[in-house]
Symmetry: C2
Subunit: 308 residues, 2 copies
């Protein structure tokens, strides 16, 4: 049995012309590191859930991506994080929303999935559960980056709610995620995000929603999305890919293209997804200008990319 | 073109032996009133969204059901309410979680759907949006009922998290919901809940999750669920019914039976759903002992029921 792993670090208006060569190297390095983290699990025969968690933790710990350390600021200068994870082997799932100060939201989602009777916890209650279970917390300063501070200042000036905002013409959907198939034939998916710069009203996007931002089922596929959350929720994107495979007999690639390049485009939803099927085939599909992404299989063919 | 409307007031271990004749009359009256509220909209040519909102408001305002007034108490003696709504005509959706003191959570979900750029708002932020949009608030006393107080006291004594708990042997999934098809051929669904008695950690169930507790699409069906939320989230129940119709060519009844009587039973998920297809056919399906439910079509065939 073979293994495979794909990751993303968000999608949107990511153009070669806007990124310095130095930054490009940094992003590719960070994506590579996240692949190594998941690959280390899979190469030793570890399971898909542990692999996607390891890759997402690596991306959460990197300040370049909008998740964990490096999360964007809400309208109230807070870091409000969401995450979810699903195990395709038993359809178990865990999710968290409106989380503050938990170092790795994806590990809390995993804890909820594996050790609670619940699927989805939120805000203060989720933080209380995290403390009870001994998860790592960090002070506000840990999550702080100058880039995110500048982005909120700019968004406040323009009075705009921005999705990982850079420039007025930019739309970036800051999310990280991973999907994997292990050598035992199990598949899993995980997603994590810091949400939208200048977001108000405790808005929740698709990242913590099982079926929208994350889904995994050994009979079909595992999917992690990154995009304009409202459209991805309305399209129930991750589960739609699974249903097109299970009920329509589509291949993974056909299903992903149908959902992202046809259905989401028609609905108005910009973004993309990564997916793996139960045979280990990978799909990294997006309808935006770019998507930070990468994959590796047991051929050790580490590959990272940013642009179309 | 014909119209039709179905409602539910929760599912679970609802046995004739446990309900007095007096209570039975009260429940049937309340269900009838909720049908009348939606029917009043539909008979005048009103749209499906307004009809499901009217029926759910009627159920939220009735202290017999676990939603709005009459919501159960969380572990911290709070009423934490969730709701969602979806418009099958344009796939617009609105949802709220962890809401306090908003009189009708379903109307806030509708407001978010129709007048914000978001789909899903949560907690304090959602309440701030509700105040800004002029929705009605009520003090804690409004939501108080002696029955719910006794239920929390009993749950605290037994140290159990209970789903609309009555007796140790009881499992009730306190949720209300409505689905409708209007004379213009549009369909819609809405769901609202007070959650679980003695719930901790700000747990969220399927009720506010688009795709799990609520879904509507004019091309297929509108669905509102009531059941053990964790299993309904993992099964992406409402959207699964839609996918089985769209991708597998199943009828509404076939799809609902497949999801509730086969897939959810296999997964371990107790509960039920109400659904309407784009031709106005209705399905009211549950795998539990009972489900408070009712329907009406333009034949004015008002019908309410409780047991199997």
């Amino acid at each position: 049995m073979t293994y495979s792993l794909a990751i993303h670090g968000g999608a949107g208006t990511i153009l070669r012309s806007q990124i310095t060569q130095e930054d490009e190297v940094k992003y590719n390095h960070a994506l590579h590191d996240a692949l190594v983290a998941g690959n280390d699990v899979l190469i030793k025969g570890g399971n898909a859930v542990e692999a996607v968690a390891a890759s997402v933790v690596s991306l959460e710990n990197c300040p370049l991506f909008n998740a964990g350390k490096g999360s964007v600021f809400s309208n109230e200068w807070k870091h409000e994080m969401d995450a979810s994870i699903m195990d395709g082997n038993n359809l178990q799932a865990g999710a968290v929303s409106m989380l503050h100060n938990v170092k790795n939201p994806v590990l809390l989602a995993k804890e909820i999935m594996q050790n609670s009777e619940h699927v989805y916890l939120c805000g203060e209650g989720a933080e209380r559960y995290a403390r009870q279970q001994g998860l790592s917390f960090e002070p506000d300063e840990y999550f702080f980056t100058h880039l995110r501070k500048e982005q909120l200042e700019e968004a406040l000036r323009d009075n705009k709610i921005m999705l990982d905002h850079r420039t007025a013409k930019d739309r970036k959907f800051g999310t990280v995620g991973a999907v994997a198939r292990d050598i035992h034939g199990n598949i899993a998916a995980a997603t994590s995000t810091g949400g939208m710069t200048n977001k108000k009203f405790n808005r929740i996007g698709d990242s913590p929603i099982i079926g929208a931002g994350t889904y995994a089922n050994n009979h079909t596929c595992a999917v992690s999305c990154t995009g304009h959350g409202e459209y991805f929720i309305r399209g129930v994107v991750a589960y739609d890919v699974s249903c097109l495979m299970e009920y329509k007999g589509m291949s993974l690639m056909q299903a992903c293209e149908k959902v992202i390049l046809e259905k989401q485009v028609k609905l108005g939803g910009e973004g993309g997804l990564i997916a793996v099927d139960n045979a280990g085939n990978l799909a990294l599909i997006f309808n935006s200008e770019g998507m930070y992404r990468g994959y590796v299989t047991e051929k050790k063919d580490f590959k990272t990319d940013i642009y179309k």
